[in-house]
Structures are given as structure tokens and as C-alpha cells.
Symmetry: C2
Subunit: 233 residues, 2 copies
DNA sequence: CAGTGGTCTAGACCACGGT
DNA sequence: CCGTGGTCTAGACCACTGG
């Protein structure tokens, strides 16, 4: 008789099964926590935990007094894993190679960059161009701008041995990231570095990071043709 | 004296602040739950909830006996919102227009598609080509394959008024999604539909969905040049 | 083995927000 | 108003895993 202790995962799975198999179609209001707790023979807190998880995952929407409603759109969210370039390349079995192509002298950020990073007028930035390769095959071109107002010590780093991303990770924490994905045509320099035809379609990531509101860096990563990025829910 | 009740969010924010301001650098082992509960003057469950949230967000790693360790890499994952095309277009103020360009007769899935959707040999699929537009401006070309083994009723839908995505959402639930992002060159047909030069760089999403292991559909979405997708952490 | 997180319970109070 | 979810508490047992 003494049924094993009911866990919140069991409740979660059972509720999810009922949603998936159509027992509770979209827009259904689920029974309240007390009622479900009675049905499952557990405490209300256990049901609460299970429903919290369903809510986090986006399966249901919870509102006080209104109750818990099954969402129509099953999942409009995905988790994106953002691997380190080094790991991604080494995972294919190839050797990771980094090359600093160019290092611009510090200068005032141009208007588009100030807008992008919310920089003040006249803010100084350091611009870099780098190539990441898998063995002898070019993999990704990185254009990088580092805000010297937030990261003054970048001015004295040479970035010859270590890429700016790995250097920054060890040097400066950040609190906010802003990611943009797009497709861009390979311009002359990028085409040359990536060894592809000018105008080739390149998967492009732009990543801005901030530290408590202060801009840290903008990275523009253009991947060699054929690159794919996958996301798992 | 009687301090206001301590909430798990307060604990969470305080712990996060200590991690961010360097009080607890990477690889630090945080004090145990009991100890923190004593410090904050709350129940252990409250601290537990706060640390669970930190763990979910990727700031710390928790292991039994070992304790709670501050993660080195702040966060290597982002949440990606996947808006409905209709919503995305209407959010810009433009009118959403959908057009069915072509509807292929049902046929056996070619090898690459079988591999992609884990379909059995000889499985029948329905192929569609659609155009989504923002007002008079083409926005996205959709190539869609629907597995007739899993969704036989698709054979009798005409998809003239309603796009396959909206139709499927109302018709078939799904349990798993697989997303791939890339950049592709505009082929002849896509270039014509999107009114861009052949070879133009197009941001491309491929989305496979399954229902308990059975393939439902593969959508290949090619967006007009200039499209950007953003992710928030 | 022993310490740490993982979880359940039973009860309680509270805040929000439909009715 | 008052029902529903949100959260806290104090105590307990358990499971995993590092030493």
C-alpha cells in the first residue's frame, strides 16, 4: 500500500503526458494545485514545483486566481549553446590555429559602433582582425572592437599568442550579452582570409557584451561557407 | 528588528552580486546551504531555491557532497525566441501576406530527406513552396516537407489560405524540435521569389519536428537579404 | 563514511487579479 | 471579495559522491 514517495518529476511527467496526448488541449485550465495534490497523494508544494517546471519550459501559463492554462504554441524558445571556437574546432579532430591579422591603433569609435555599444562620443576603441583555422583550413574571421574605457589594459595586450576572446574571458567579467545572427556576403578581405569567392554567403554572429551597463566589446564573427549552427530545445 | 521576510530572490540577487563583484571568483566553493541560511536568517529551502536558480542560469555548478562551485564561463548559452512569421511581420507594422507558390504531388522522400527526418525507406512526403511577404516586400521563402506517414490528413489540405506552419500547429502536436541556422546563397527560384540577386547571402533556418520519434515535418526558411535574428540571454 | 545537495511534508501567510 | 498561485518555515529523510 505504502506507495513510494511521489516526486515532483513524476507529477511533472504525468501532467506533461496529459497535455501531450490531448487529454488537456490548448487553453484548458488545469485543476488547481490543491486538487492535483489530492489526486497524486502528495503535498501542494510538490505539485507547485512540477507546475513551475512546466511553466519554465513554456508548456503552461500560470496566473493567480486565473489558474494554470495550457499554452497553444508548444515551444517558441530554444536554448542555444555557444561553444568556444577552440572547442568547436578541436571537437572535429582538427588542430585549432589562431592568427592575428591586424591590430589597429586605438582610435575614437565611429558612429555606428558607438550606437551599437551605447558608447559616449569620443570613446576610444581598439580594433582587431583575427583568423581562426581548423588545421590548414580557414574557419572563421573575427573583427573585434574593445572599449578601452572599460578595458584599458587591452591597450597593452598584444593578442599575438592569445585571441581576444580568450584574453577577455580571463581578464574582464561581463553581465550582459546581445547576440545577432545573420547572413553576410564575403567582402574582399574576408573572402581572401576564408579562401572563398567574394560575395559568398557567410553565417555571421555579432556579439556585444557589457559589464553593468558599460560596453566591453563587440565581436563580428564570419564563418567559412558551409558552417551550420544548431540549437536544441 | 523583525526584518521583512527574506525571499529567495533577495538571496539569489545577493549571491549573484558577490559572484559578479569578485567576492567569489570562479572556482570558489560557496558556503553550504545551512551556513548561508543562518547568515541570511531564512530557511534552508529558501537558500536552496536561490541556488537552484543560479544553477539553472549557469552561474554555478552544484554537486552533492562537493558543494556549489562558481563557474568559470559566465554563460555559454542563450535563450532564443522563435517568433511566428506572422507576428514578426505584423510587429513591423506591415501586413502579413502568404502565398502558396507550388504544391508537389506526394512522393517518396529522397535520401537526404529520409536521413534528415529519420524516415523509413519509401516514406511518402508532401512538398510545398511558399512565400511570406511583409506588405509588397517579399520576406521569406519556405520549402516544406510534411511526412504523410505521421500526418496523413495533410494530403487533403490545400494550403492556399493557410500556411503549412499555422495549419500544422493546429493539427498536430510535436514533442521535439531540431534547429539549424546557416547562410545560403540564393538559388534561381529563391532569388526570383525574394526579388534579390542570384547568389545573395540568405539567412536560413532549417527546422525539423518530431512527434514521439515520428517525423512530422522539415521546414527550410530562407529570409530576404538583411534579415537579422536576435537572441537574449 | 559522512557531508552536501535534493526533495517531501504540513502548515501558514501573502499578493495578485478575476468576478 | 476571495480563490489561486507564490513563497516561507521547520523538520525530516534520502541519494549521491568525495575523501
Amino acid at each position: 500500500m505504502t506507495a513510494a514517495r511521489v516526486t515532483w518529476r513524476q507529477v511533472h511527467d504525468e501532467l506533461l503526458a496529459r497535455i501531450r496526448n490531448g487529454h488537456w488541449p490548448a487553453d484548458t485550465i488545469l485543476p488547481g494545485e490543491v486538487e492535483l495534490a489530492a489526486e497524486f497523494g502528495c503535498a501542494r508544494a510538490t505539485v507547485n514545483r512540477a507546475m513551475q517546471a512546466l511553466s519554465d519550459a513554456g508548456y503552461v501559463e500560470r496566473k493567480r486566481k486565473a489558474g494554470t492554462r495550457v499554452r497553444a504554441a508548444p515551444r517558441r524558445q530554444a536554448r542555444l549553446a555557444i561553444p568556444l571556437i577552440r572547442d568547436e574546432i578541436e571537437a572535429t579532430g582538427a588542430a585549432y590555429r589562431y592568427t592575428l591579422i591586424q591590430r589597429d591603433p586605438p582610435r575614437a569609435a565611429p558612429g555606428w559602433l558607438r550606437a551599437r555599444l551605447r558608447l559616449a562620443d569620443g570613446a576610444q576603441v581598439l580594433g582587431l582582425t583575427c583568423l581562426h583555422a581548423a588545421g590548414s583550413r580557414p574557419f572563421m574571421v573575427e573583427h573585434r572592437w574593445i572599449s578601452l574605457g572599460t578595458v584599458p589594459q587591452a591597450a597593452s595586450a598584444d593578442f599575438v599568442q592569445t585571441g581576444p576572446n580568450e584574453w577577455l574571458v580571463g581578464e574582464v567579467p561581463f553581465t550582459d550579452i546581445d547576440l545577432t545572427f545573420s547572413a553576410t556576403a564575403a567582402a574582399g578581405e574576408a573572402a581572401e582570409l576564408l579562401d572563398c569567392a567574394p560575395g559568398a554567403a557567410l553565417f555571421t554572429i555579432e556579439r556585444c557584451t557589457w559589464l553593468e551597463g558599460d560596453a566591453v566589446t563587440l565581436a563580428r564573427l564570419q564563418f567559412a561557407p558551409g558552417y551550420q549552427m544548431t540549437a536544441a530545445p
